[in-house]
């Protein structure tokens, strides 16, 4: 029923990628124990760009965007109001973080970094709550939250990794301190990616259970999943797994201190994962089956 919600697909993936960028890169920054590693300098501005783009795209979903300022008027009851507020606040915090580090490169602004990362996490949580509607049993499970966080970790990690690999090309090969930093950073990325994959895999059977329960409800919704079959679901998983595999290879190469073709490879990995996630998100909206009439 909602298979054509492309603006929401883009909005959620863009904002979740942005949150992932902030969360993963700030974690990596702290794990790497460095104030301003060159390899992590573009992630926050990148996140700001993606979040801003996401917010702009979301406006195209609205029938009367001129009223959009009113959309935070029901924070007390509406998860949608909260989502808009949470995304805006996250965007503003990330923007502030980027501005501070651009104006004063010597400052780590780690407090603000932690705040931005927490706001990113909160935003993804709030986003997932938007879909937990009692009339939509397929969405109304913890799998929605797990899936959104999975997306955040996966795309955020890969985006961080791509920027990291681009920046790593200028890194000095012989510097032992840089190598050690690299190892730690890659380790964080690795853990984040595994976490993302794990969330996805946990969510999957929950999704299937909810779907099969919702199937044959005799309701008005027509499931995209039901009509397109499991083929799309499998394709989507394969895309994500292929991306993750390439990313793992890239990570190993970085650890081995070799940088040739890493940018291209990590870009390919990001594209595969993004394609998988886009497909997955279309399926998510397509699985909208509402009870009742």
């Amino acid at each position: 029923m909602l298979g054509n919600e492309w603006s929401l697909v883009l909005f959620t993936i863009l904002v979740q990628t942005a949150a992932g960028l902030v969360v993963v890169s700030e974690t990596a920054r702290r794990a790497g124990d460095v104030h301003s590693p060159r390899q992590l300098s573009w992630q926050i501005p990148g996140a700001c760009g993606l979040a801003a783009l996401g917010l702009l795209v979301s406006l195209t979903h609205l029938g009367s965007p001129q009223n959009s300022v009113l959309a935070v008027a029901n924070l007390g009851d509406s998860w949608l109001s909260r989502e808009i507020l949470a995304t805006s606040v996250f965007f503003l915090a990330s923007l502030a973080l980027a501005m501070v580090r651009w104006k004063r490169p010597e400052r780590s602004a780690s407090g603000l970094g932690i705040l931005a990362a927490c706001l990113g996490l909160a935003d993804v949580f709030v986003m997932s709550r938007v879909y937990q509607l009692p009339a939509v049993p397929v969405w109304n499970t913890v799998a929605t939250t797990l899936g959104f966080f999975g997306t955040m970790f996966l795309t955020g990690t890969l985006a961080t990794g791509v920027l990291f690999s681009i920046q790593s090309r200028q890194a000095q090969q012989g510097d032992p301190q840089a190598a050690q930093q690299r190892t730690r950073l890659v380790g964080v990325l690795f853990v984040a990616a595994v976490l993302g994959l794990a969330l996805k895999l946990i969510g999957l059977p929950l999704d299937m259970i909810a779907l099969s329960a919702a199937d044959n409800l005799g309701t008005s919704g027509v499931s995209l999943l039901a009509s397109a079959g499991t083929g799309l679901l499998v394709m989507r998983l394969l895309l994500v797994l292929a991306g993750a595999a390439i990313f793992a290879w890239v990570a190993m190469r970085i650890l081995a201190g070799r940088s040739a073709a890493l940018v291209q490879a990590s870009l390919v990995a990001l594209c595969l994962v993004l394609a998988g996630e886009l497909l997955g998100r279309f399926l998510f909206y397509g699985s909208y089956i509402r009870i009742g009439l």
């Binding site: 909602l2 979903h61 609205l62 029938g63 009367s64 965007p65 009223n67 959009s68 009113l70 959309a71 935070v72 008027a73 029901n74 009851d77 509406s78 998860w79 949608l80 109001s81 808009i84 938007v130 509607l133 009692p134 009339a135 939509v136 044959n216 409800l217 005799g218 309701t219 008005s220 027509v222 909208y288 509402r290 009870i291 009742g292 009439l293």
Partner: protein, 206 residues
């Protein structure tokens, strides 16, 4: 005006004629794709062919004419980000077009398809119980139209006393979700809530 108004549908009398829908379309001049009231056809049963070529069947079918139920716990009002969707002092749920942002979130969550997106206006629209008619002391257009008097309306408690408590037949959702102001006189064909014996068989019409 009476507070907490409700609709009542007598399933023994509803023939699925859709006069309520046309009266509503005419009164509100509804655009293509917008229906404040919809008549769903719920049909089930199977056919068995006997060895001698004759047939056995247990087919059943009934119609449910449903608009907004002006719920006591309206999920549309709760989920509306702008507060454009509101329940007035008499309990009527309607949209303030000045505020609506057209995000269609209310549409996602309402298990009765009450909020309807008007693509030309870019906002949600819906049944307002013909508030203007009520102000004039007239019944809502759909109720006044019903040829078999299957559809009636009145204060919730009055209807409850008159027709009993039946609120739930398949495939309507659990009333706990929104506490709809909707009552039924079920027919013997009515399937219990949660039943999977039938399905909505006219999705193209609602």
């Amino acid at each position: 005006m009476q507070k907490r108004l409700a609709f009542h549908l007598d399933m023994n009398a509803c023939t699925g004629c859709k006069t309520c829908m046309i009266a509503c379309i005419d009164k509100n001049d509804l655009a293509d794709g917008v229906l404040y009231r919809r008549v769903s056809e719920y049909t089930g049963g199977d056919w068995i062919r006997n060895a001698d070529g004759t047939y056995e069947q247990n087919v059943f079918s009934y119609y449910l004419s449903i608009s907004c139920n002006h719920c006591e716990n309206p999920i549309c009002v709760r989920s509306c980000p702008t507060t454009a969707m509101y329940k007035d002092e008499n309990g009527i749920v309607s949209v303030n077009p000045e505020k609506c942002v057209g995000c269609r979130y209310c549409e996602w969550g309402c298990p009765y398809s009450a909020p309807q997106f008007n693509a030309e206006l870019g906002i949600m629209t819906k049944c307002d119980f013909c508030r203007d008619y009520l102000d004039l002391g007239k019944p809502p257009a759909c109720v006044a139209a019903c040829p078999t008097r299957a559809l009636t309306f009145g204060p919730y408690q009055e209807l409850l006393d008159k027709y009993g408590q039946a609120q739930l037949v398949a495939p309507l959702p659990d009333t706990a979700i929104t506490q709809p102001n909707l009552l039924f006189t079920p027919s013997r064909k009515a399937q219990p809530a949660g039943s999977r014996n039938g399905k909505i068989s006219n999705p193209e019409e609602v």
